[in-house]
């Protein structure tokens, strides 16, 4: 193995594993669609997995994107995710054990209550941000919802997070730009680009 060329030297992996977690209805699927499209445009092999139906009705949603020269399984194994992108703190924490020891977390700090919280039967974990920091090597947390509302579209959290991922992706910004154009309905392109740029300003390498 030592003599073989590592495909993504920065991550020291041949297949880059990205998990995108959130609440059904937040637009998780568009984020993963854009990342997968960008990988295709970059000439890479890519597999993306998602679930529809019952799971989308306000439940926990996980989308998985695997990028490399050749990808077999569409599913990321536990302990092998390089990047975890969270739309909501509780849903970010739920998948922390999928991260490698060196893995990075980028997440939206805006919480969304569960039905248990809303009916007063459960409490939202008060220390959720500390929990996430404790369980991951690299954490980048910010209020993506505020940025989305700031550009005038509360539903554009997904594009804010695409922007925030930019420096963590092994893909050129120009290509990501094109992937957004290819993936977003034309009439919503302008507002989504604004959200992307707001997120990009948060992106850290």
């Amino acid at each position: 193995m030592a003599n073989e060329l590592i495909f993504f030297p920065r991550y020291n992996v041949n297949v880059l594993n990205i998990l995108i977690a959130g609440v059904g209805g937040q637009g998780v699927l568009l984020t993963s669609k854009i990342i997968a499209e960008a990988a295709l445009l970059a000439g890479l092999d890519v597999k993306q997995s998602e679930v529809h139906g019952m799971a989308q009705r306000g439940g926990s949603v996980l989308s998985q994107v695997r990028i490399g020269q050749k990808v077999f399984s569409p599913i990321v194994a536990e302990g092998e995710a390089d990047l975890l992108v969270g739309f909501e703190p509780l849903e970010t924490a739920r998948y922390l054990h999928f991260l490698r020891d060196t893995g990075m977390v980028i997440y939206n700090t805006r919480t969304i209550g569960t039905i248990g919280v809303s009916i007063g039967k459960e409490a939202y974990p008060a220390d959720i941000n500390e929990t996430i920091r404790k369980h991951a090597a690299k954490v980048h947390a910010f209020d993506a919802t505020e940025l989305a509302v700031g550009v005038g579209e509360k539903r554009a959290v997904n594009l804010v997070l695409v922007g925030a991922m930019l420096k963590s992706l092994p893909i050129d910004e120009k290509i990501v730009d094109q992937a957004i154009v290819n993936s977003v309905p034309k009439k919503l392109l302008e507002i989504n680009k604004k959200a992307f740029l707001a997120g990009k300003a948060q992106s850290r390498s």
Partner: protein, 583 residues
């Protein structure tokens, strides 16, 4: 040739176009829905949402008889509904190519069971092809049509959630020109009177022998050379997991899982010291391989028949030394699915939770009414069962004697069209005594919002005659048929109470459009802190836009303005009128 990243379902739709398919019929069902959604936007193809899977299968059979390549699409449980035509069209064979595309749901992401469709291919004695990714999904559909026409047989193309809903790179091509066939006129072949069917059954058995020979020569089944003493036989997405876990091992990849390629399997088994068979759900391949007298070292005893497999699970089972991995973060509360803020089903369940009748449920978003805080469902079996089961319950209770108890059936508009109507006719005809609530949100909600005969639009959006549920129920002869605004709690409670007290079959149609499909959004509500007494009555609405903020001895309710859709259900539950529309 162009490269695109497509889901398995998108690739199947693309494959249908490229294979010159002309008639496609389906009933929505996760994870199969997108195939027909895409085809409905194509010119030169008749793509329809049929009222149910049996109808879809028969429409596709008709398309084949007419002489054009045709396909029916459905989820696994839909095949139960379509099994009747399937089991006989296998006798008649096809005219133009006929494919049944079925999506199974291992892990039950959005299903009530995880039955394995491959058993149907064996029962019908027809080929089953199984792609392992989107590229294969497109290619295998084309081959399925060729196979169908070459062997005069319907063909099942089976996917699973991870094939249908995973995206991978696909090379698209131009559509082939397929010559349409003449309308089929051949009474002994297509009219299944017993005398004809006896002759056709013999042909089915002969066809199966030829298909077994084909299985041994087709490139649908391929051996991937490798090293090591352990060889794998795998199908569908399980093949990807095997390659991920054991990249260097020899693998016999089965793209056609019925009938099996016996010679290839025997040769492969002889070439390795140990044999593993990796398949999701049932040991369908394994049982047949064992029946060949071969020894299987790793099969269902190692890889469970319940839920999905993963590369990790396969690796751990074979090596016997599980890799250590981190434990999930402890103490996290769960996030089960729930009604959307503004959902028109919320009001009804708020009332049912209060009145506590016996509720017979059905398949759709509204099955979530079984969960907290409503807990308002006592049984739910399959599409359409709500009404017929409620009728059976009422008859059983009546025979037992005792106090009059009228059960409630809850069913969505699309499910009512699918198979609720026959149940209602049965109940009226047989002197039943249940209240049927048709929760009409003007769409097929759970699968993402598809048209049906009650929406007044066809697949693709073209205008269609709009079937009135209310009028239909009246014609069927229900004792009472009443309509109501699903957001009006007071009237809902009053009418349900009245109808539960009056014997005889009655129907209540509660109307409000699906907020998700139609993006309905009114001004959000807010809580007047000055008058809120913290009684938590509003929380009974079970809405994630609501929460309770403890403060001192009590506290107050709060509304998340970004989530609230302004339906006003919570405000109707508030005794102090503290929930008001935000300024």
């Amino acid at each position: 040739m162009k490269k695109a990243i497509l889901s398995g379902n998108e690739a199947i739709a693309r494959g249908f176009i490229e294979a010159g398919g002309k008639v496609a019929a389906a009933y929505p069902g996760t994870p199969s829905t997108e195939v027909l959604e895409i085809l409905s936007k194509e010119k030169g193809i008749h793509a329809e949402w049929s009222t149910n899977e049996k109808v879809a299968m028969e429409v596709a059979i008709g398309g084949s008889l007419a002489g054009v390549r045709s396909m029916a699409c459905m989820k696994h449980v839909g095949v139960n509904v379509a099994a009747d035509p399937l089991m006989t069209v296998t006798y008649t064979g096809v005219n133009a190519g006929l494919v049944l595309m079925v999506a199974d749901d291992p892990g039950m992401f959005s299903s009530q069971n995880e039955q394995d469709t491959r058993h149907y291919s064996r029962m019908a004695k027809i080929p089953c092809v199984e792609p392992a990714d989107s590229g294969e999904a497109k290619e295998f559909l084309r081959q399925a049509f060729e196979l169908s026409e070459a062997f005069d047989t319907p063909v099942i193309l089976r996917t699973t959630t991870r094939v249908s809903h995973c995206k991978s790179v696909v090379e698209t091509a131009d559509p082939v020109i397929v010559k349409d066939r003449d309308l089929a006129r051949d009474v002994p072949k297509y009219v299944m009177l017993p005398g004809n069917a006896k002759k056709r059954h013999l042909i089915v058995e002969e066809r199966l022998i030829k298909l077994r020979e084909f299985a041994d020569t087709t490139l649908l089944n391929q051996e991937i050379k490798g090293t090591g003493e352990l060889g794998f036989i795998a199908n569908g997405v399980a093949y990807q997991y095997v390659r991920e876990a054991f990249p260097d091992a020899p693998v016999l990849k089965l793209g056609m899982t019925y009938p099996l390629p016996e010679k290839k399997i025997r040769a492969f088994a002889a070439s390795v010291r140990k044999l593993a068979i990796v398949e999701e759900l049932d040991g369908f391949i394994e049982e047949q391989v064992k029946a060949m007298g071969l020894v299987v070292h790793f099969g269902k005893a190692a890889f469970p028949p319940c839920g999905e497999l993963t590369s990790r699970l396969i690796r751990d089972a074979v090596t016997g030394t599980p890799l250590t991995c981190k434990a999930p973060v402890p103490g996290l509360i769960m996030r089960p699915p729930t009604f959307c803020p503004g959902c028109s089903h919320r009001g009804l369940y708020t009332i049912l939770a209060k009145l506590k009748p016996y509720v017979s449920g059905d398949i759709g978003c509204y099955t979530l009414g079984a969960l907290p805080p409503f807990g308002s469902m006592n049984t739910c079996i399959c599409m359409g069962a709500s009404i017929s089961a409620a009728h059976g319950i009422s008859r059983g209770l009546a025979i037992k004697g005792g106090e009059h108890q009228k059960p409630v059936a809850v069913i969505g508009d699309s499910t009512f069209m699918h198979s609720g109507i026959t149940g209602l006719i049965d109940m009226v005809y047989n002197g039943g005594d249940a209240l049927v609530v048709v929760m009409n949100n003007d769409t097929t909600g759970m699968t993402g919002g598809q048209e049906h005969p009650g929406t007044g639009r066809r697949a693709g959006g073209a205008e269609a005659p709009k079937l009135s549920i209310e009028k239909l129920c009246k014609v069927i002869g229900a004792r009472a048929v009443r309509e109501i605004d699903a957001y009006n709690l007071k009237d809902l409670e009053k009418i349900i109470k009245e109808e539960l007290a009056t014997p005889g079959p009655s129907v209540l149609v509660s109307n409000q459009p699906c907020v998700l499909r139609y993006r309905v959004s009114s001004k959000p509500y807010t809580v007047d802190r000055a008058t809120c007494v913290g009684c938590k009555a509003c929380l009974k609405a079970g809405c994630i836009a609501l929460s309770f903020v403890p403060e001192g001895k009590k506290g107050y309710a709060a509304v998340d303005a970004l989530l609230c859709n302004g339906c006003g259900i919570c405000a109707q539950l508030c005794a102090t009128k503290s929930l008001v529309v935000a300024k």
